[in-house]
């Protein structure tokens, strides 16, 4: 593994330039804005899907039309579903070599440092550009172990029975309006299958990029970890800065079988015009372990509550999230745990930072069903408020129906301490360096869980958010 210095050099580019757009992008197909059954059939036909999938889409579309908009969380009433482009395909081919990816897309990913990261420390990379995956490759030694890592579209072609068996079983379209919409128009996303007993020792990463203005991105991810397997999946997201809203409504389904362990890491750095409304959920069988780790830095309006349903005895989950709401941003994030079996353990740790008028809300649910005796749960939400204009809210919901349950809940809201800043400044750090260091310390529980490269990236992104914070 490369040393830290090398990694720093590798990641040494200007993160403020995430917001660029590709002016010269060429698309193979872009659907007209708006949605109806014909458009859905067209998307399904263009993808060459089996009829059962077209049926699932149409059924989900009807649910979408019936479902009301959520009335809680972030502002949603200005979403104009008729102006959204639901499908844009840059290319028909999923390349397995960067040389085969169209030049303007390759350039984008090179600017984001993906091919280099792949060479150095990833087991596999998948790159989605607008609606379709344009690049997908996994190391040969992982392929030989029987691991499957490909776009959902490809999985549907090559492993239709596997997809059919699990698709929509964790997040049914009836779950919420945006899950229904995703099911109706899904495109791209990742399919991961890890066979029994196989441990994937280096992370697999998917990288989601939105380029087209007014595009809705609706990737669909399905991860199946068979008994006693392990996989670490990482996703990163960026988009250009536009003055109109861009909708990102993903669905992620994770199946953690007996004794398996899945770690799902997200570094979300969408531009502020992106509305991030995602449904992520895992079912965890006996002694299985699901970890959700996320750093939410971007997106003007963000609703995200990674969930774990602990279904087997002794199952575990850790949900660790950090969100940074800067000027004009509203993050409504948290986690959800539903415990159905005895002897389960769950930890939710939420760290939020509000700055320059940003709003951070923690919203969490812990539900312990009657059979889930001896559950042990710990919820902790810490909020750091950087100035007078910023806001932090906490809505923890806890419902316990079982006996002998041990639950600890802790919530802290703090302002950045003047004395702490002075202490650091008295050693020679500037005010900005001092506040940045305090913020970094605040999110340390998250960054220490990330692979080094991502911890460095996260720190860089935070430094960027902290820039100009001191007058």
């Amino acid at each position: 593994m490369a040393d830290r210095k090398e990694q720093e050099a590798l990641l040494d580019f200007d993160y403020s330039k995430y917001g660029f757009k590709d002016e010269d992008a060429v698309y193979d197909f872009v659907s007209e804005p708006g949605l109806d059954e014909e458009k859905i059939k067209l998307i399904s036909r263009l993808k060459g899907e089996p009829e059962w999938m077209t049926e699932i889409r149409l059924k989900a579309y009807r649910i979408f039309l019936e479902k009301p908009m959520p009335t809680w969380g972030v502002k949603l009433d200005d979403i104009d579903f008729d102006s959204i482009v639901y499908y844009a395909r840059p290319t028909r081919k999923v390349a397995d070599s960067w040389d085969e990816v169209p030049e303007y897309i390759r350039r984008t990913y090179e600017r984001l440092g993906i091919p280099e990261a792949e060479r150095k420390y990833l087991g596999g990379v998948e790159a989605q550009y607008d609606s379709e995956v344009v690049y997908s490759r996994m190391r040969k030694e992982l392929e030989e172990k029987g691991i499957l890592f490909m776009s959902m579209d490809e999985a549907l072609k090559r492993y239709p029975e596997l997809v059919r068996k699990y698709f929509g079983t964790v997040v049914p379209p009836s779950d919420n309006k945006f899950a229904a919409l995703n099911t109706a128009v899904w495109s791209g996303g990742t399919f991961v299958y890890v066979p029994k007993g196989v441990k994937v020792d280096i992370p697999l990463q998917a990288y989601f990029r939105i380029n087209l203005q007014n595009l809705g991105q609706f990737e669909r991810t399905l991860i199946i970890a068979e008994e006693d397997s392990f996989v670490h999946y990482i996703e990163g997201c960026t988009a250009p800065i536009y003055d109109t809203h861009t909708l990102h409504a993903a669905v992620v389904e994770v199946i953690v079988k007996k004794g398996a362990h899945v770690r799902y890491t997200t570094i979300q750095n969408w531009s502020r015009n992106v509305l991030n409304l995602v449904t992520k959920r895992a079912v965890v069988e006996e002694r299985g372990f699901m970890e959700w780790i996320s750093g939410e830095l971007g997106s003007g309006r963000n609703m995200k509550y990674p969930s774990s349903i602990l279904r087997g005895r002794g199952a575990r989950t850790d949900i660790l999230s950090m969100s940074f709401a800067n000027t004009g941003m509203h993050h409504d994030t948290g986690g959800k745990v539903i415990i159905m079996a005895p002897d389960c353990r769950a930890t939710i740790t939420s760290k939020s930072i509000s700055k320059g008028g940003g709003i951070s809300t923690y919203r969490g649910l812990v539900k312990v069903l009657p059979d889930a005796e001896r559950a042990r749960i710990s919820v902790s939400c810490d909020a750091l408020i950087m100035d007078e204009d910023s806001v932090s809210n906490t809505y923890p919901y806890i419902e316990i129906e079982a006996d002998r349950v041990n639950i600890a809940h802790e919530a802290k809201v703090g302002k950045i301490g003047e004395d702490q800043v002075f202490y650091l400044m008295s050693r020679g750090l500037t005010e900005q360096e001092a506040t940045t260091l305090i913020v970094m310390g605040f999110i340390e529980p998250l960054s220490k869980e990330l692979p080094m490269e991502y911890a460095i990236e996260l720190n860089r992104l935070i430094e960027l958010e902290m820039e100009g914070s001191v007058g």
Partner: protein
């Protein structure tokens, strides 16, 4: 004047309430000045005002260091100019490793815009932790979090040793330390002074530490003013007689 801290008629306080009522003090590099006085006399305020704590307002006077007006400078500029304050109550900063923080401070002090030698830094840090009787894994612990009172005080001295100030203000560095720890801290302050030639302002309520660090000058501060000055013998007199001679009621 080079290598000299000059405080002239300094008046300062908090929210309009004057705490320092005209302090005059000159400290040259290599000198040790003890500031003694009863609780509430303004000793700690003096340290915080010299370092530039934002809660305090300066109502008059000046503080000059190496011919620069400190009062116009931000706290970090004062530190970079060679001033150091060992806090009476060091702050806890969660999630920030002791070594990460100190490396950043060290880079400012010795980097001249470039990264200094990290190997040399690590070596020095290890050595000073050892000198102060602190465990090596202190470097990976979060800054002052979970440190005992004594560890915090010793860690301040480690920071001082690494940052090699020109003038160091030590605010009640001996409070909360047992007698062995006082000796270790005092020996190391002397060692740093010997190696760097720094000047020291030692703020203390009790004479005890002055048995180990013998001051060149003793200043007695009462009610925001320096009311008496002398050599080390003045500290001994105070030890016997207390502050009662200045009309201050004796505390327990």
């Amino acid at each position: 004047m080079k290598d000299t801290l000059v405080i002239r008629d300094l008046k300062a306080g908090i929210e309009g309430k004057e705490i320092l009522r005209g302090i005059n003090l000159t400290v040259r590099k290599g000198e040790i000045h003890a500031i003694m006085g009863p609780n509430g006399s303004g000793k700690s305020t003096l340290g915080l005002v010299i370092m530039g704590h934002p809660s305090y307002e300066v109502y008059g006077g000046e503080v000059i260091f190496n011919d620069r007006n400190l009062l116009d400078m931000e706290p970090h500029e004062r530190a970079q100019a060679g001033l150091f304050l060992a806090f009476q109550h060091p702050l806890e900063i969660d999630g920030v490793r002791f070594s990460t923080f100190l490396w950043q401070a060290y880079s400012h002090r010795f980097g001249n815009g470039r990264k200094p030698d990290i190997i040399k830094f690590r070596k020095e840090l290890r050595q000073w932790l050892k000198n102060l009787g602190l465990p090596e894994n202190m470097t990976d612990r979060y800054l002052n979090v979970g440190f005992s009172g004594g560890e915090k005080k010793r860690a301040e001295i480690v920071q001082m040793a690494i940052l090699k100030p020109e003038i160091a203000i030590l605010d009640e560095i001996d409070s909360g330390l047992d007698i062995d720890a006082v000796r270790i801290v005092a020996e190391n302050v002397k060692r740093i002074k010997q190696e760097t030639g720094m000047g020291v302002i030692l703020i203390t309520h009790y004479q005890r530490i002055l048995n180990y660090i013998v001051p060149d000058y003793v200043h007695v501060m009462v009610d925001g003013r320096i009311v008496e000055e002398g050599g080390p013998e003045l500290a001994e007199t105070l030890e016997k007689e207390g502050y009662a001679r200045y009309g201050v009621a004796e505390e327990v």
